[in-house]
Amino acid sequence: MTTAHSLTAVDAAPGAESEPRRKRIALVASKGTLDQAYPPLILATTAASLGWEAGIYFTFYGLDILHEERLAKLKVASLANPSGPVQLPNLLGALPGATAAATKVMRKWMSDAKMPTVPEFIEMAQGLGVRFFACATTMGVMGVEESDLIQGCDIAGAAAFLDFAAESDVQLFV
Protein backbone atom coordinates (compact mmCIF):
# COMPACT_ATOMS: atom_id res chain seq x y z
CA MET A 1 0.00 0.00 0.00
CA THR A 2 1.34 3.38 -0.89
CA THR A 3 0.07 6.75 0.09
CA ALA A 4 0.85 10.07 -1.44
CA HIS A 5 1.68 11.62 1.88
CA SER A 6 3.69 10.17 4.69
CA LEU A 7 2.61 10.37 8.28
CA THR A 8 5.29 11.64 10.55
CA ALA A 9 5.44 9.60 13.70
CA VAL A 10 5.68 11.53 16.94
CA ASP A 11 9.07 10.02 17.42
CA ALA A 12 10.45 9.65 13.95
CA ALA A 13 14.05 8.55 13.90
CA PRO A 14 16.27 11.22 15.40
CA GLY A 15 17.48 13.53 12.68
CA ALA A 16 20.96 14.15 13.96
CA GLU A 17 23.13 11.05 13.99
CA SER A 18 25.30 12.55 16.69
CA GLU A 19 22.35 12.59 19.07
CA PRO A 20 22.04 9.14 20.66
CA ARG A 21 18.51 7.85 21.08
CA ARG A 22 17.19 8.65 24.52
CA LYS A 23 15.38 6.08 26.60
CA ARG A 24 11.67 6.62 26.90
CA ILE A 25 8.96 5.82 29.43
CA ALA A 26 5.25 5.76 28.62
CA LEU A 27 2.87 5.88 31.58
CA VAL A 28 -0.89 5.63 31.84
CA ALA A 29 -2.56 7.48 34.73
CA SER A 30 -6.07 6.10 35.09
CA LYS A 31 -6.93 7.03 38.66
CA GLY A 32 -8.07 10.36 40.00
CA THR A 33 -7.36 10.04 43.70
CA LEU A 34 -4.67 12.03 45.46
CA ASP A 35 -2.62 8.97 46.38
CA GLN A 36 -2.74 7.57 42.86
CA ALA A 37 -1.82 10.86 41.24
CA TYR A 38 1.63 10.70 42.77
CA PRO A 39 3.18 7.53 41.28
CA PRO A 40 2.93 8.49 37.59
CA LEU A 41 4.14 12.02 38.32
CA ILE A 42 7.03 10.78 40.45
CA LEU A 43 8.10 8.21 37.87
CA ALA A 44 7.86 10.62 34.96
CA THR A 45 9.75 13.34 36.81
CA THR A 46 12.44 10.86 37.80
CA ALA A 47 12.73 9.50 34.26
CA ALA A 48 13.12 12.99 32.86
CA SER A 49 15.78 13.68 35.51
CA LEU A 50 17.65 10.63 34.22
CA GLY A 51 17.64 12.17 30.78
CA TRP A 52 14.82 10.02 29.43
CA GLU A 53 11.87 11.13 27.40
CA ALA A 54 8.70 10.70 29.42
CA GLY A 55 5.01 10.89 28.63
CA ILE A 56 1.86 10.27 30.64
CA TYR A 57 -1.50 9.40 29.13
CA PHE A 58 -4.24 10.65 31.47
CA THR A 59 -7.38 8.65 30.95
CA PHE A 60 -10.69 8.14 32.73
CA TYR A 61 -10.48 9.43 36.31
CA GLY A 62 -6.80 10.11 35.78
CA LEU A 63 -7.83 13.04 33.60
CA ASP A 64 -8.71 14.92 36.81
CA ILE A 65 -4.96 15.30 37.37
CA LEU A 66 -4.87 17.63 34.34
CA HIS A 67 -8.14 19.37 35.25
CA GLU A 68 -7.32 22.91 36.26
CA GLU A 69 -10.01 23.11 38.95
CA ARG A 70 -9.86 19.55 40.19
CA LEU A 71 -6.15 18.81 40.28
CA ALA A 72 -5.58 20.69 43.53
CA LYS A 73 -8.61 19.05 45.15
CA LEU A 74 -7.90 15.38 44.59
CA LYS A 75 -9.02 13.20 47.48
CA VAL A 76 -8.09 9.96 49.18
CA ALA A 77 -10.84 7.35 49.40
CA SER A 78 -11.86 6.50 52.95
CA LEU A 79 -14.18 3.71 51.82
CA ALA A 80 -12.86 0.35 50.65
CA ASN A 81 -9.29 1.52 51.11
CA PRO A 82 -7.82 -0.78 53.75
CA SER A 83 -4.36 0.76 53.41
CA GLY A 84 -5.58 4.34 53.54
CA PRO A 85 -4.30 6.94 55.99
CA VAL A 86 -7.47 6.71 58.11
CA GLN A 87 -8.12 3.05 58.77
CA LEU A 88 -11.84 2.75 59.24
CA PRO A 89 -14.30 -0.09 58.84
CA ASN A 90 -16.19 0.47 55.61
CA LEU A 91 -19.36 1.31 57.49
CA LEU A 92 -17.61 4.29 59.10
CA GLY A 93 -15.56 5.11 56.02
CA ALA A 94 -18.86 5.92 54.32
CA LEU A 95 -19.76 8.60 56.86
CA PRO A 96 -19.75 12.23 55.76
CA GLY A 97 -16.37 13.78 56.39
CA ALA A 98 -14.41 10.52 56.31
CA THR A 99 -13.00 11.17 52.83
CA ALA A 100 -12.04 14.69 53.83
CA ALA A 101 -10.30 13.34 56.93
CA ALA A 102 -8.34 10.73 54.95
CA THR A 103 -7.35 13.40 52.44
CA LYS A 104 -6.23 15.76 55.19
CA VAL A 105 -4.02 13.08 56.74
CA MET A 106 -2.42 12.22 53.40
CA ARG A 107 -1.74 15.89 52.68
CA LYS A 108 -0.10 16.25 56.08
CA TRP A 109 2.04 13.16 55.51
CA MET A 110 3.22 14.57 52.22
CA SER A 111 3.88 18.04 53.53
CA ASP A 112 5.70 16.74 56.63
CA ALA A 113 7.91 14.67 54.33
CA LYS A 114 8.58 17.81 52.23
CA MET A 115 7.02 16.14 49.22
CA PRO A 116 5.74 18.48 46.54
CA THR A 117 1.99 18.84 46.04
CA VAL A 118 0.35 17.49 42.88
CA PRO A 119 0.28 20.95 41.24
CA GLU A 120 3.96 21.36 42.11
CA PHE A 121 4.80 17.97 40.60
CA ILE A 122 2.95 18.90 37.45
CA GLU A 123 5.03 22.06 37.17
CA MET A 124 8.25 20.12 37.82
CA ALA A 125 7.36 17.50 35.22
CA GLN A 126 6.43 20.05 32.59
CA GLY A 127 9.59 21.99 33.32
CA LEU A 128 11.59 18.87 32.47
CA GLY A 129 9.67 18.36 29.24
CA VAL A 130 7.41 15.49 30.32
CA ARG A 131 4.61 15.17 27.79
CA PHE A 132 1.03 15.12 29.03
CA PHE A 133 -1.53 13.39 26.83
CA ALA A 134 -5.18 14.07 27.68
CA CYS A 135 -7.44 11.22 26.60
CA ALA A 136 -9.82 12.62 24.01
CA THR A 137 -12.43 9.94 24.63
CA THR A 138 -12.50 10.65 28.36
CA MET A 139 -12.99 14.32 27.57
CA GLY A 140 -15.95 13.46 25.34
CA VAL A 141 -17.48 10.98 27.78
CA MET A 142 -17.08 13.17 30.84
CA GLY A 143 -17.79 16.50 29.20
CA VAL A 144 -14.34 17.98 29.78
CA GLU A 145 -13.34 20.84 27.48
CA GLU A 146 -9.81 21.73 26.43
CA SER A 147 -10.22 24.99 28.36
CA ASP A 148 -10.80 22.95 31.55
CA LEU A 149 -7.30 21.48 31.32
CA ILE A 150 -3.97 22.94 32.33
CA GLN A 151 -1.80 24.44 29.60
CA GLY A 152 0.58 22.29 27.64
CA CYS A 153 -1.44 19.07 27.23
CA ASP A 154 -1.76 17.18 23.98
CA ILE A 155 -5.29 16.00 23.38
CA ALA A 156 -4.82 12.52 22.02
CA GLY A 157 -6.58 9.28 21.32
CA ALA A 158 -5.24 5.84 22.05
CA ALA A 159 -3.47 5.56 18.69
CA ALA A 160 -1.43 8.71 19.22
CA PHE A 161 -0.38 7.54 22.68
CA LEU A 162 0.50 4.07 21.40
CA ASP A 163 2.56 5.70 18.67
CA PHE A 164 4.57 7.36 21.46
CA ALA A 165 4.56 4.18 23.59
CA ALA A 166 5.66 1.92 20.73
CA GLU A 167 9.08 3.53 20.79
CA SER A 168 9.39 3.39 24.58
CA ASP A 169 11.57 1.21 26.74
CA VAL A 170 9.34 1.18 29.81
CA GLN A 171 5.54 1.16 29.92
CA LEU A 172 3.55 1.33 33.12
CA PHE A 173 -0.16 1.51 33.88
CA VAL A 174 -1.14 3.21 37.11
Partner: protein, 86 residues
Amino acid sequence: MTQPAPTDLKVADTLDCSGLLCPLPVYKTALALGTLSPGDVLELICTDPGSLEDIPAMARQRGDTLVGLEDRKGTQIFWIEKGRST
Protein backbone atom coordinates in the same frame (compact mmCIF):
# COMPACT_ATOMS: atom_id res chain seq x y z
CA MET B 1 29.78 1.13 51.23
CA THR B 2 32.33 3.83 50.75
CA GLN B 3 34.29 4.80 47.72
CA PRO B 4 36.78 7.50 48.68
CA ALA B 5 36.83 10.47 46.36
CA PRO B 6 40.20 11.36 44.83
CA THR B 7 42.05 13.66 47.22
CA ASP B 8 42.70 16.26 44.53
CA LEU B 9 39.01 16.50 43.66
CA LYS B 10 37.78 19.96 42.75
CA VAL B 11 34.12 20.48 43.55
CA ALA B 12 32.27 22.86 41.24
CA ASP B 13 29.06 22.99 43.28
CA THR B 14 27.45 21.48 46.38
CA LEU B 15 23.81 20.44 46.68
CA ASP B 16 22.28 19.62 50.05
CA CYS B 17 19.27 17.32 49.80
CA SER B 18 19.13 16.50 53.51
CA GLY B 19 15.62 15.56 54.59
CA LEU B 20 14.34 15.09 51.07
CA LEU B 21 12.83 11.88 49.76
CA CYS B 22 12.71 10.38 46.28
CA PRO B 23 12.32 11.81 43.72
CA LEU B 24 13.57 15.16 45.02
CA PRO B 25 17.29 14.35 45.38
CA VAL B 26 17.36 12.97 41.84
CA TYR B 27 15.29 15.84 40.48
CA LYS B 28 17.40 18.51 42.17
CA THR B 29 20.61 16.77 41.17
CA ALA B 30 19.50 16.78 37.54
CA LEU B 31 18.80 20.52 37.75
CA ALA B 32 22.15 21.17 39.44
CA LEU B 33 24.07 19.10 36.89
CA GLY B 34 22.26 21.02 34.17
CA THR B 35 24.07 24.17 35.25
CA LEU B 36 27.51 22.51 35.16
CA SER B 37 29.85 21.65 32.30
CA PRO B 38 31.05 18.15 31.37
CA GLY B 39 33.88 17.16 33.70
CA ASP B 40 32.64 19.35 36.58
CA VAL B 41 32.05 17.61 39.90
CA LEU B 42 28.90 18.05 41.95
CA GLU B 43 29.03 17.28 45.65
CA LEU B 44 25.67 15.94 46.80
CA ILE B 45 24.50 15.40 50.37
CA CYS B 46 21.55 13.07 50.99
CA THR B 47 19.84 11.49 53.99
CA ASP B 48 17.25 9.32 52.23
CA PRO B 49 18.59 5.73 52.48
CA GLY B 50 17.14 5.14 49.01
CA SER B 51 19.72 7.55 47.64
CA LEU B 52 22.44 4.94 48.12
CA GLU B 53 20.87 3.04 45.22
CA ASP B 54 19.25 5.96 43.43
CA ILE B 55 22.23 8.20 42.88
CA PRO B 56 24.52 5.52 41.39
CA ALA B 57 21.59 4.43 39.19
CA MET B 58 21.04 8.00 38.10
CA ALA B 59 24.69 8.42 37.19
CA ARG B 60 24.56 5.18 35.14
CA GLN B 61 21.44 6.25 33.30
CA ARG B 62 22.62 9.76 32.54
CA GLY B 63 26.17 8.89 31.66
CA ASP B 64 27.70 10.75 34.58
CA THR B 65 30.41 9.19 36.74
CA LEU B 66 30.19 8.62 40.46
CA VAL B 67 33.74 9.40 41.49
CA GLY B 68 33.22 9.09 45.24
CA LEU B 69 30.73 8.04 47.89
CA GLU B 70 30.82 8.28 51.65
CA ASP B 71 28.14 6.83 53.90
CA ARG B 72 28.35 8.50 57.30
CA LYS B 73 25.71 7.33 59.77
CA GLY B 74 22.58 8.24 57.83
CA THR B 75 24.16 10.91 55.69
CA GLN B 76 25.53 10.07 52.28
CA ILE B 77 27.87 12.25 50.33
CA PHE B 78 28.26 11.66 46.62
CA TRP B 79 30.67 13.21 44.17
CA ILE B 80 29.32 13.10 40.65
CA GLU B 81 31.35 14.04 37.62
CA LYS B 82 29.13 15.31 34.88
CA GLY B 83 29.36 13.37 31.64
CA ARG B 84 28.51 14.44 28.15
CA SER B 85 24.76 14.09 28.81
CA THR B 86 22.14 16.84 29.09
